[in-house]
């Protein structure tokens, strides 16, 4: 498949400089909600101005261009190493064009590679599918909000959080309370219920691909999401932690099976700069850049989380 690198550079440019429409709309609604003249409203005004300016000048929305998390769907006849190489070359190119910051630091030496490339950096997951096209989606996950992400093992006695959905609710509230404004509130809360310590967190991160306005197909989870959205905002932490009505823009929850002994709740906090972008490339190398990351529904492959 030709031109992969070029399309991936463009995908990274879009991801880093253009906020998805659902997130922008939620921030605008927050701006309307906050009383004029408050620090909360000023912060949202600055954020909205920043969104416009970044799009116009193709400059990163935030200087922390995060961990780049790629999900790539590909037909069986394409080698994954070819795709990986194109992604790595595109990453370097995007860094040279200042769409991405050199963000890869060696934890042993403390040295920054300068290329934004490192060991398992960027993070790439491959999924084979039956279509002939390649679909690549990328999420830019900032460090500040990653630092306030959390994982709980239910029960948590101090919070009276038992092994049920009400226990889940309590620990999610705790995580958002603990985060205060430090994850660049208003944030989006991805919740992974169940699994083990790894798969639960992966599920929590998966939730962050969902557009804010979608509805959880599971009625119980949909109810939990709505309640948590309301209650998180009642904490009045507000944008940047200045106090205010807009603490989170959305709560998204998914569940996976657990073993009887463990009940993990994994919480991935995403800052307001929830950057995600997606492209589908035809076998002849023509790209379609999606306004919104497409949902998994259209792929028939079992377990495909498109």
């Amino acid at each position: 498949m030709s031109n992969l690198k070029t399309h991936f550079v463009e995908l990274l440019r879009r991801a880093s400089t253009q906020l998805p429409p659902d997130v922008t709309a939620a921030l605008k609604a927050g701006y309307q909600r906050e009383p004029p003249g408050t620090a909360a409203q000023t912060a949202l005004a600055t954020i909205l101005k920043n969104i416009k300016l970044s799009r116009k000048n193709s400059t990163p929305l935030c200087q922390d261009t995060g961990t780049n998390i790629w999900h790539v769907y590909h037909p069986q006849n394409i080698c994954q190493c070819e795709l990986e190489q194109a992604i790595r070359e595109a990453t370097l190119e995007a860094r040279n064009r200042a769409y991405l910051r050199p963000n890869a630091v060696d934890p042993i030496t403390g040295l920054n590679t300068g290329t934004n490339l490192g060991i398992r950096f960027p993070v790439i997951s491959f999924y084979g599918w039956k279509k002939q096209s390649v679909r690549a989606s990328v999420m830019l996950k900032g460090g500040g909000c990653e630092n306030v992400s959390a994982q709980y093992a239910l029960p948590v006695a101090g919070l009276h959080a038992g092994r049920d959905l009400d226990g889940v609710r309590k620990v999610v509230l705790d995580a958002v309370f603990q985060a205060q404004g430090k994850g660049c509130a208003p944030g989006i809360v991805g919740v992974g219920i169940g699994g083990d310590r790894i798969t639960g967190m992966i599920e929590a991160k998966h939730q962050l691909w969902r557009p804010l306005e979608d509805k959880n197909p599971n009625a119980l989870l949909a109810k939990l999401e709505n309640r948590l959205y309301r209650e998180c905002n009642q904490l009045e932490i507000g944008p940047m932690g200045y106090g205010g009505k807009t603490t989170v823009l959305g709560v998204k929850a998914g569940s996976i099976h657990r073993v009887p002994a463990s009940y993990f709740v994994s919480i991935s906090y995403m800052c307001w700069a929830s950057r995600r972008a997606s492209v589908t490339i035809t076998p002849t190398g023509n790209p379609t850049f999606h306004k919104q990351v497409p949902s998994s529904q259209e792929c028939n492959t079992p377990n495909c989380k498109g």
């Binding site: 000023t42 935030c62 922390d64 500040g144 404004g181 430090k182």
Partner: protein, 191 residues
């Protein structure tokens, strides 16, 4: 909105209170994790002039070099609390009047601000393009090789750099107030 011209005196900085909107003009320097460690381990002399009566900005900018000119294209604040172990000593020794970052800082920094006369200005986290616009000139990057570009000391010239005073030199912290209030609400919601 209050206009702040750097350098600034202790008397002037003590007039600021939490909740004040400010617009900053003049020279400041970026310093984040590695730079803070460096300041207290190596005690570099070049830092004195960059900081005294001016501002330390917790930021790791995206830098672009074009025809020999250095441009900060994206330069929002990073989380300040990571500098909590260092900041009180940095304030005591280098005497900045303003610490700029996001998320606020803890009691030891608040105490040092009270003692030596300094405030914390919260910039809008993630608003990196808007803030970069207020950086009108990047004078120089210090220790780029040693610390890497995001962690280097960048001497900046800013114009109308905006933020909110969330910690002042009188021992008040907006972060403490918001946290206390949300704590009460939180216990109500889980009981």
């Amino acid at each position: 909105m209050k206009k702040i011209q750097l350098p600034i005196s202790e008397t002037e900085i003590r007039k600021l209170r939490i909740g004040d909107d400010v617009a900053i003009f003049g020279e400041m320097v970026t310093a984040r994790d590695a730079a803070h460690k460096y300041m207290l381990e190596k005690w570099p002399r070049f830092v004195d002039d960059l900081i005294r009566d001016k501002a330390i900005y917790h930021c790791g900018p995206v830098i672009k070099e074009e025809n020999g000119e250095i441009i900060a294209v994206s330069a929002g604040p990073t989380t300040s609390i990571r500098e909590e172990p260092y900041e009180h000593e940095v304030i005591a020794h280098y005497r900045p009047r303003i610490i700029i970052g996001k998320g606020g800082m803890g009691p030891t920094t608040l105490q040092a601000m009270k003692e030596y006369g300094a405030v914390y200005v919260h910039a809008t986290g993630g608003a990196a393009s808007v803030i970069a616009k207020s950086i009108i000139y990047v004078h120089k990057g210090y220790k780029r090789k040693e610390l890497g570009d995001p962690e280097a000391f960048w001497k900046l010239e800013v114009r109308h750099f905006t933020g909110v005073v969330t910690m002042d030199s009188h021992g008040d912290s907006l972060h403490d107030i918001v946290e206390q209030r949300s704590k009460e609400k939180f216990y109500e919601l889980i009981s």
